[in-house]
Amino acid sequence: MSSLFGNILKGWTDYTKGIEEGGHHEYEHMWGMVIDLDKCTGCNACSVACYAENNIATVGEEKYVARQSMQWLRVERYFDEPDIDPGAIDDENAMQERGASFLPMMCQQCNAATCEPVCPVAATYHTPDGLNAQIYNRCIGSRYCANNCPYRLRVFNFYSYTDENGAWPEPMKQQLNPDISVREKGVMEKCTFCIQRINAAKDKAKMENRQVTEGEVKTACQQTCPTQAIMFGDLLNPESKVTQAWVRQQIKLGKYKQDRENPTLRGYRIFEELNTDPSVLYLERVREE
C-alpha cells in the first residue's frame, strides 16, 4: 500500500527534490523519446502502426468531423509562420515556397503531468518507470485529465466501438492485440509508449536475471518509422541513444527553462514553459534559407 500511495501522491516538490539529489532514484527506468523533426516526412506510418498495435478504434467520418477521433499519435502539419515567410501569407497570388512542417504528437509522458493530480480516482498516475499511465478499468470518465492536458493528447471513448457495427466487425476482431485491453465507452485512453512492449521486455529481462538493454524495447511508431526519426530508450541508462541525445542537446529534466551552454542547439520540448516536464525531446526542423 505504501508504495501505491507513493506513486499516487508523489508531488512536484518530491519530484524536483529527486532531481536535485541527483536523479530519479526511485525510478526503475525513465522512458524517453527523441523525435527528429528534420527527418520526419509526415508519412503517417507511425500513426497507422499505433492503430495496429494498440487496438485503437476507427470512428468513421461522422465522428471524425465531430472531433471524436481516437488516434493516440497524430501527425500534425503546419505551413510557414508569418514571421518566417511574410510574403507567403499576405500575397494572395503567392504559392508556398517551402514544404510544410510535420509534427508527430503522442502523449508527452510529462513528469509533472497536469493530468495526473486532477483525476478523481487516480486512474492516471506516474509509474516507477517514469511513465504517465492510464488504467482503463479504474477510469470513471470524468475527463478532467483531458481538459487539463495542454497538448490535447488524451482521447475519450465517446461511443462503444466493440459491437458488430463498431470498429471491428468480424473477423477484424481477430486482429486485436490480446496484450492490451480493448477500451469500452466512457474510458479515457492515450499513448502509453507501448507499455505492453516495455513490460514484456522487462519480464523477459527478469526471467533472465538481467537489466533491460538498450534497444530491447521499441515502440510501434519507432519501429515502423521509414526515416527512423523516432528514438526511444531509457533516460536513466547513460549509454542509451536517447540519453546521449538529451545530453548532446543539453536538455535537462525537471526544468522549465533550459540553461544551455549552446543556445543554438536543436533540442526543445513542447510547452516546456508550462513546467510539465515532458519526456519527449523534439529536434528542430532545419530550413535552408
Binding site: Q68, P120, A122, Y144, N147, Y151, F156, F158, T276
Partner: protein, 482 residues
C-alpha cells in the same frame, strides 16, 4: 391582485411588515398556501415533470450510447454539464446568505423570505449534485470517488479538485438540509397542530415532539445559531472549491487567482437574483403581499446590486490581470471571448451581469413587479452565461492550436440543462405544498419585535393583540394560537 391594488400597494407599503398583523392571520395565510393546489400549480408541475422526463430519457440514451451524442469532443470534454453544475452550485448560495449571514447580523427583514431561499439552496444543491455524476463516462462507477474501504486497497486521488467537490457538496448539502429542517421545526409543529390525515402523521414525525417550552426554545436557538455559524465558512469554501476545478487547472482562462472570490460573488449574485424571481412568484401566487413586502424586496434588490458590483469588479480585475499580464494564451482566450464565435454570449453575460443590475437602482423598477421579474430572470440568464463562458471558450482555445474548436452542445446536453430546471422546479413545487414556505414563527417574532419598538410596554401590546398568548407559547398552541 388587481393592477390598481398592486399599484396602490407599491406606493403605500413602506414598512417591512405590518406590525399589526394578527398571529393567527399569519398561521392562516401560510397554512393556506399549503392547501390543495390549483390549476396553475398542476401546469407548472406538469412542465417540470416533462422537462425532467426528457432529462431521464437523455440520461438513459447517454448511458446506452456513451457521451458521443452530447457532441462533446476531444477539445470540449465538459461544456454544459459542468457549467450548469457551477450555475446550480451558485444558486445554492442564496439560502445561506439570507438565512445564515443575515441571521448573524440581526437583519430581521430576512425572516419572511429565508425559508424558501433555504429550500432553494437545498434543491439547487440536489440539482447541482446530479451533474458531476451524469457527466461521467462510466456513470455506474460514480461511487469510486467516495473514500470507502475497498477490498482492492485503492483510494480516490485526494489531490483532485473533483474529490474536493464531492466532499464539499455532500457536506454542504447535509448542513443545508439540517439548517433548513431545524429552522422549520417550530413551524412543523404548527402544521402538525392544524392538519389531519397523512400530513399530520408526517408533521408529527418531523416536528420531533416540539411543544415550544423554554428549554426547547433555548436549545433550538443555540443549535440554529451554531449551524448558521458553521454554514457561512462552509458556503464560502464550497464555491471556492468549485472554482478550484478551474483554478487548479493549467488551462488559460481557468488558471486565475481571483477565481475563488469571483465564484463566491457570482454565486451570491445568482442566488439573490433567483430569490427575487421566486419572491415575486410566491408573492403573486400565494398572495403573500403582507409578508413579502415591497420594502423587503427593495432591500433584496439593493443587496443584489451591491453583490453585482462586487462581481463586476472581480470580473474587471480578472480581465485587467490577463490584459496586463504576459500570458499570451490567456490573452487570446479573453480576446476570443470578446470577438470569437462565443462573443454574443460573452457580451450577453456582460450586459445582463454587469449593466442590467443598474436597473435595480431605480425605485420604479424595484416596485414594478413584472419588470423586476424579467430583470431577475435575465440576471440569472447572465449568470448562467457567465458559467458557460468560463468553461467553453477556454476549452475551445487552449494551449495547443490543434485543439482549437468551436462546439455547440448537442440535444442530450440541452436536455440535461432543461431537465435540471425541471427537477429543481419539481422539488420546489412539492416543497411549497408540503412545507410552509414562509417561516411562521419567525414572522411572528418579527411582528413582535417591531411592535415592541412602538409600544414600550409589553403588556399594552399584548392587550392590543386581543388576548394573544405570550411569546413563550408561540408555535405550539392550536388554531390561531401563536
Amino acid at each position: 391582485m388587481s393592477e390598481a391594488a398592486l399599484k396602490h400597494l407599491s406606493e403605500t407599503q413602506t414598512k417591512d411588515i405590518d406590525e399589526n398583523i394578527a398571529w393567527a392571520k399569519i398561521n392562516r395565510d401560510v397554512l393556506r398556501s399549503m392547501e390543495n393546489p390549483r390549476r396553475g400549480y398542476w401546469i407548472a408541475m406538469a412542465i417540470s415533470v416533462a422537462l425532467f422526463s426528457v432529462m431521464i430519457y437523455a440520461e438513459v440514451y447517454q448511458y446506452i450510447y456513451g457521451m458521443g451524442p452530447a457532441l462533446l469532443n476531444t477539445s470540449h470534454m465538459w461544456d454544459l454539464y459542468i457549467s450548469t453544475f457551477v450555475f446550480w452550485i451558485g444558486m445554492s448560495h442564496s439560502g445561506t446568505l439570507l438565512s445564515a449571514i443575515l441571521h448573524l447580523v440581526h437583519a430581521d427583514w430576512r425572516k419572511p423570505i429565508y425559508r424558501f431561499a433555504e429550500a432553494m439552496t437545498t434543491f439547487s444543491l440536489m440539482t447541482a449534485g446530479i451533474f458531476p455524476v451524469i457527466h461521467l463516462g462510466r456513470v455506474w462507477n460514480f461511487y469510486w470517488v467516495m473514500p470507502y474501504m475497498t477490498d482492492r486497497g485503492i483510494w480516490p486521488n485526494f489531490r483532485s479538485p473533483l474529490i474536493w467537490d464531492a466532499f464539499a457538496i455532500t457536506t454542504y448539502l447535509t448542513s443545508s438540509v439540517l439548517f433548513l429542517y431545524i429552522g422549520m421545526i417550530p413551524d412543523l409543529a404548527i402544521c402538525r397542530d392544524n392538519t389531519t390525515g397523512w400530513r399530520k402523521k408526517l408533521y408529527t414525525w418531523l416536528s420531533l415532539g416540539w411543544h415550544g417550552d423554554d428549554r426547547q426554545w433555548r436549545n433550538f436557538r443555540i443549535t440554529y445559531l451554531m449551524i448558521a455559524c458553521f454554514l457561512i465558512p462552509l458556503a464560502v469554501s464550497v464555491h471556492s472549491i468549485v472554482s478550484m476545478d478551474f483554478a487548479m487547472a493549467i488551462m488559460p482562462g481557468w488558471h486565475v487567482t481571483t477565481f475563488p472570490p469571483y465564484f463566491v460573488a457570482g454565486a451570491l449574485y445568482s442566488g439573490c437574483a433567483a430569490i427575487i424571481t421566486l419572491f415575486i412568484l410566491l408573492r403573486y401566487f400565494f398572495k403573500f403581499e403582507e409578508y413579502m413586502t415591497f420594502p423587503i424586496l427593495d432591500k433584496v434588490c439593493k443587496l443584489t446590486f451591491v453583490i453585482a458590483m462586487v462581481w463586476s469588479y472581480l470580473n474587471l480585475v480578472e480581465f485587467a490581470s490577463v490584459w496586463y499580464g504576459h500570458d499570451i494564451p490567456s490573452k487570446e482566450v479573453l480576446l476570443a471571448k470578446a470577438y470569437g464565435p462565443y462573443a454574443p454570449f460573452f457580451w450577453g453575460m456582460i450586459a445582463f451581469g454587469m449593466f442590467l443590475p443598474f436597473a435595480l437602482l431605480s425605485k420604479w423598477v424595484r416596485r414594478n413587479m413584472k419588470l423586476l421579474f424579467v430583470v431577475s430572470v435575465l440576471l440569472n440568464v447572465g449568470m448562467w452565461l457567465e458559467r458557460w463562458m468560463i468553461v467553453t471558450p477556454t476549452l475551445s482555445m487552449s494551449y495547443h492550436p490543434w485543439g482549437w474548436n468551436i462546439m455547440w452542445p448537442g440535444w442530450v446536453e440541452w436536455a440535461m440543462v432543461g431537465g435540471s430546471f425541471g427537477w429543481f422546479g419539481m422539488l420546489f413545487l412539492i416543497f411549497v405544498k408540503v412545507f410552509p414556505c414562509v417561516s411562521m414563527y419567525e414572522v411572528k417574532e418579527m411582528v413582535f419585535h417591531r411592535k415592541r419598538t412602538i409600544y414600550e410596554d409589553v403588556d399594552e401590546m399584548m392587550v392590543l393583540h386581543k388576548g394573544a398568548p405570550t411569546a413563550v407559547e408561540a408555535g405550539s398552541t392550536k388554531n390561531g394560537g401563536s
